[in-house]
């Protein structure tokens, strides 16, 4: 498969996932189940963009680690701060 075909396929997947994500709300799921499904779909889409469109797959792992560290820092802040007032 040429790169262009791969990129196009990913575009289609992203389009479908975005639509699916919006439809989850109307699927009649429990609110909290729906919430995690929706957020999970966001992460999946983000991974597709990062891994293929941003070429992280073809870069040294160290670049991915840097981004992961940033993400972990943001998650630590979000989770610990929110937990502190529960």
């Amino acid at each position: 498969m040429s790169k262009l075909k791969l990129y196009t396929a990913i575009y289609v997947v992203l389009f479908v996932l975005a639509t699916g994500q919006t439809l989850v709300e109307f699927a009649g799921l429990d609110y909290w189940v729906g919430l995690w499904v929706i957020l999970g779909l966001s992460f999946v889409k983000a991974l597709f963009v990062a891994v293929y469109y941003q070429h992280l797959r073809w870069e040294p792992r160290s670049v991915s680690f840097v981004m992961l560290v940033g993400l972990l820092a943001a998650l630590a802040l979000t989770i610990a701060a929110s937990y502190s007032i529960l």
């Binding site: 469109y53 941003q54 670049v63 007032i85």
Partner: protein
Amino acid sequence: MSAEAEQSTDHGHGLPPASSVKRWLVTTNHKDVGILYTVTALFFLVFGGVLALLMRIQLWTPGEGFLAAVSYNQAVSAHGLIMIFWFLSPFAFGFANYVVPLQIGARDLAFPRLNALSYWLYLFSGILFGVSFFQGGTFAGGWTMYAPLNIPVYTPNIGASTAVLALVLFVASVTVSSVNFLTSMHRMRAEGMTLRRMPLFSWTILLTVWMMLFAFAALLAALLILSSDRLLGTQYFAATDAGGSLLWAHLFWFFGHPEVYIVFFPALGVMAETFQTFTGRRIVGRKWFIAAMVLVALQSFVVWMHHMFLTSINLQIKTLFMATTIGISLPFDLMVFALIYTLIKGRVRFTTPFLFSFGALVLFIIGGITGVFLGAVVLDYEFRGTYWVVAHFHYVMVGGVTALFGGLYYWFPKMTGKMYDEFLGKVHFALYFVGFNLLYFPMFLAWETPRRDFVYPEAFVSLHQLSTVGGFILGASFLVMFYNLSKSLLVGEEAGDNPWAYSVTTEWALPSPPPLENFPGRPTFETGMLEFRRGPGGTERSGVEAADGGEPTADGGEPSTDGGAAYVAEIEAESGHDEDHASPWPFAIGLASFVALLGFSGLQQGGFPTGLSGGFYAGLTGGGLVLLGWTLVRLARERFNGPVGPFGESWPFENVENTKLGVWLFLASDVVLFGAFIGSYVFIRVAHGWTDWHDLIPEAHVVLPGLINTYLLLTSSFAVVLALVAAERESRWGLVASLGLTFALGVAFLVNKALEWLHLFDLHGGAFAGGWLPSTNVASSTFYLTTGLHGLHVIAGLFISLYLIARAWGGAYLDDERPVEYFGLYWHFVDIVWLFLFPLFYIL
């Protein structure tokens, strides 16, 4: 180095001689920028120091007197902000700029113009802060800027907004600088200079910039939210029932605790270097020392809530953060012992730099022990907000400053070529050390004094008077230093290349000051010892003479005392061009940012007030933004050749080109910025009650515009991918068309968003009869500000894409598609952010 030699190395770079003022406005050379940083930081030391003395005069007796209450609060706040932001880190970064490239064997930093830009943003942010004093008084809510005292309801003066904007500009400077240092230090080390073998000062700077990259992004989020609350009328911190007050504390300390190590690590690096040099011994347990620092750098991001033990956070999280806090204190024990054991069996020479470093270690030990008291939560409960805290952190932070002054004396001969007066240096140290302890130690004894109060119990009067006397002695000690250094600069003895026996690092193998390209040949540590190589295949080698620090000598071929001219010629021959060292645009961009932000400070509730002053501020904003755009384009269009490879050691980014790594690092900090915005949203929503949130949002806020925008952005991402493919296939029109499509989709995104916002602004009837505005409630605030920040990223991307389209039209990028690729990285990132904002703000 003689004046003639200096002249000769400067030829052909467009860089005026050091005696000309113009040189200092246009220089991009890391050594010049280092000197600019050092001198400017010393100016802010005096500024912050004078404010501290004003406070100490006020505290001579309890009660209002010398200063009015508001003035006292301004002095307290400005002293903290200036010392922590505009003095401490920039002072250390003066040395970092000067020394790190020399130590790792790089001819300059990766992006010399960005380095100059960091400096000018720093200087102009400091000037902006100074201006705030004249706009009805500067910010008076303490350097911690606790909410909601920081919003206009309680601090309405324009100067307070200006102070916040000055900090925003400062953070911009720090972010640019972190990206630059990280790229340079990871990618541009000399052969054999692996990370494991890097000198300890460079190690501390490396870890400092890593922490800066992430911590300052969190601060930027806090400051942008605060700016928006102050200038646009959003309700984050005013919404105290939704945890607004705690939100600030979380954001601020998430930055604030790493900041402690950000300012302390370089001092630790200076201590490590000077201890090794002046004991003539290599440090004990070097790899454990490094491991301990890495551990601290990581842990520093999970200890912030120990600043919040008395807030309403729960016991479980207090316990967790108590544990992480003890955890982070332990690596420091190891580092202290490593330094102490390095003394044993050494040949300790009590020079001025060593005295300052040794003194710093003593002060840091006292600061550390008193810090353990604060780690015990039960004791912390009582020490909170008292002079115990004040004394403790001054022992730690000014303890660090003590070491940095050791660094100033240590590198002064290298930076100027002149030796300082050793006797006066020792006098400075004696006065400094006595003054320091007289100033801060009585604060431990008078610890029950409430912090930032000028009314204190009568019982402590004599202790506070001792402090005041100590403060003036400490201040006076700097007069000795300034006299010593300026006199030495003019009439001091020539220092020679290496005035210190047993120094190891590369800067001491070079002339004082080093020539523009730093080295007499390509530096390499391939054989385990520093060598400079020239000629095809590095056939001409020159080594370095041992301990006594003689001139670098050539083992064969011409002597290297030509100031590196032969090496410069060789670089030119290899890369086909000169390396540039001058650009006027960093200064111009700094000035433009200053003007624009000064204009912004006049904003109130999203608009400029009517009348003369409103028009003045609006004019400044408009003029500043136009100037900013123009200067940025000029910078981009300027032909500038920075240092090019091949580089020796680039672990762990061997195959990531410098600019690409720079873009990635910038995006990593952007991840934290958006992460902190999203984190704020989650926090506020949890505080408000997650599912009750819907009551704050009108029915008219529907999913559809968000979904359409998701489709638009996804498609535009795809268009950028197509542009890159077109560029790789050298299809000019394919490239222009794809970029044009990206631009069109981005514009469509913004238009759709504008329509959506206008609709929401203009609601009638129902629960939101006055429209759903940014100031309506905390939900509207988070919605408009977070998606607005994203929108600004889109707008910035559109400007870049316009620039790319214009260049592609002219046939650019077909032979080198990298700019398109790097723009794509940014654009995809903006897309990814939207992938999270869409569900959070439209679906859930």
